[in-house]
């Protein structure tokens, strides 16, 4: 039911939406030129003996941005945390306390439906862009085990994105106004998820810390897996760490919700 509504909503403006999705790739065009210029000034950008930065050659860099775009499309949860804290503030959350619906479960289903609907329509523009950019994928399609890992990391990335944002939203039980906190969180997640650049570019000291934060699973990790930048012998361990983060976030989110509800005093009418 939730799914059908979401798809219906999307299909009403499908032309507009497809165009909007295509436009979202425009910044990648400037990134292509920027990185070409950067690689050009340190040595040979393409072909044999090409330079690489942080383990990425020029083509990898472009491919990275494209895959990170997909990963972000899975893991980004616009307005989730803000929505939860608003519902707490305005007392709307009562609905979930008196009806036999679980708030987190309901929100998760809504998001899944939204994402499915999004991809049902967005698959066309995505396919077009990837077809146009096929030359940047020098290594070709990844071997099956990497592809499975990639799909797994996308799904987990989605869940991590969801529970991370939901947990932040739960802070609304303790502080009524969380917009500034949210903003700081968004900044961090944007910068440290690898949306702007592959995380291996970071200076070593910073990279060592970022390596252990959950943000990288939102964009960097799936892309690195797809491009084969994660060595095969480390891959199972990395996936295990991701799963561990996911578990921690799920438990944390549930715990915060349970504690929050007890504190909750039902503001608003």
């Amino acid at each position: 039911m939730v799914l059908r509504t979401a798809i219906g909503e999307r299909l009403v403006y499908r032309g507009d939406f497809a165009l909007g999705t295509l436009m979202r790739f425009l910044p990648i065009v400037t990134q292509i030129f920027l990185w070409y210029a950067v690689f050009d000034s340190i040595g040979k950008p393409t072909g044999d003996g090409a330079e690489s930065i942080g383990g990425y050659q020029f083509e990898d860099m472009v491919a990275y941005y494209l895959i990170a775009m997909i990963a972000r499309a899975f893991s980004s949860m616009p307005n989730l945390a803000a929505g939860i804290s608003r519902q707490i503030r305005e007392g709307e959350i009562k609905r979930y306390l008196i009806q036999p619906i679980d708030l987190i479960g309901f929100l998760l289903l809504t998001r899944i439906a939204h994402k499915l609907a999004y991809y049902a329509v967005a698959v066309a523009p995505f396919a077009l862009v990837f077809f146009l950019c096929r030359d940047y994928f020098v290594a070709g399609f990844p071997p099956p085990h990497l592809f499975v890992a990639f799909l797994g990391s996308l799904v987990m990335g989605f869940l991590i994105g969801f529970f991370l944002e939901a947990a932040i939203g739960m802070i609304g039980f303790w502080f009524l106004e969380v917009s500034s906190l949210l903003f700081v969180f968004m900044l961090f997640s944007f910068f440290l998820s690898g949306h702007m650049f592959p995380l291996t570019l970071l200076p070593d000291g910073v990279a060592a810390v970022v390596q252990w934060l959950p943000f990288k699973y939102l964009a960097y990790f799936p892309a690195a897996v797809f491009l084969g930048k994660v060595p095969d012998d480390e891959l199972p361990m990395e996936m295990a760490v991701e799963a561990a983060w996911l578990t921690v976030l799920i438990v944390g989110c549930r715990f915060a919700y349970a504690r929050g509800v007890r504190r909750y005093s039902g503001y608003g009418g």
């Binding site: 909007g20 910044p27 400037t30 070409y36």
Partner: protein
């Protein structure tokens, strides 16, 4: 309209500015948050370019855009964008709302130029936080540029003067583009993606134009220099300030000349498009 009822544009503008400031100061925490959030965005960008320059000496082989010069470029982008965001962005957003709700009727009735009225009504003072951020970036970059060991450079007085002139030109071009975009909302009914579209177009103006000048970038280079001149907006002033005035290759002199022509053309064109769009305005609701 007779001379006697001719409004004083400057006084009207100052009133708008004061009203906006009063409104911003009413919600002071919100104002501070907005400033902080735009500064955060600035910090992120600076971080990103610092990382890029960890791995390279300059952007593009032989273009001369090394770290200090590129940060002068970045500061220029920040100046122009913050001015546009402070003065024009809130108005352009409000304009499409005016059309949708039919509020434009009242703007048309007022005894003052409609384009003036709708483009200066609201000023977003918090966007000027980025102007100061740009100033900090510019000062740091210029000091480093002047005091470094290899190839130090201090811009001349003439270059600095020209810099301000071309910043103004850049803002004028961006303003014209925005008026054109928001005028289309008269035809299209609504234009919610205005801001996105704006972001994606101006995205091209953020880097030295040389980087587009290869392969399939050349059509883009041509399009964004001559048809929608967003490439000249930041490039001309930044290049004047960051690199010696002399020697220059002939194409750069032509570029500067084109910058002036492009400014005049885009202001005139946007004025015409705006008037044309107003003609096809039919009041909304009742």
């Amino acid at each position: 309209m007779s001379q006697a009822t001719r409004p004083s544009y400057i006084r009207v503008f100052l009133t708008f500015a004061r009203n906006s400031l009063v409104r911003d100061m009413t919600f002071r925490t919100n104002f501070a948050l907005q400033c902080v959030s735009s500064l955060g965005w600035t910090l992120m960008n600076v971080g990103f370019y610092l990382i890029v320059f960890q791995h390279t000496e300059s952007i593009g082989e032989g273009t001369g855009w090394d770290r200090d010069r590129f940060f002068v470029f970045l500061a220029t982008t920040w100046f122009i964008n913050s001015l546009v965001q402070a003065f024009f962005m809130p108005n352009a957003e409000e304009f499409s709302e005016l059309i949708r709700t039919g509020g434009l009727d009242f703007a048309l009735l007022k005894p003052i130029d409609t384009q003036f009225l709708i483009s200066f009504r609201r000023i977003d003072w918090s966007a000027l936080a980025n102007f100061f951020a740009g100033m900090v970036i510019a000062i740091v970059a210029l000091v480093r540029l002047a005091s470094r060991e290899s190839d130090p450079y201090t811009p001349s007085l003439l270059a600095s003067g020209l810099y301000f002139v071309f910043i103004a030109c850049g803002v004028a071009i961006m303003y014209s583009l925005m008026i054109c975009l928001s005028a289309t909302s008269i035809w299209l009914g609504r234009n919610q993606t205005l801001y996105n579209f704006w972001f994606y177009i101006t995205n091209f103006s953020r880097y030295p134009m040389e980087i587009y000048n290869r392969g399939w970038g050349q059509p883009l280079f041509g399009f964004f220099t001559f048809v929608v001149p967003v490439l000249v907006v930041v490039n001309i002033p930044a290049r004047l300030l960051a690199k010696p005035l002399d020697p220059r290759s002939p194409w750069e002199i032509w570029l500067i000349a084109w910058g002036i022509v492009a400014t005049v053309l885009s202001v005139v064109a946007s004025r015409m498009i705006f008037k044309l769009a107003l003609l096809s305005y039919r009041s909304a609701s009742s």
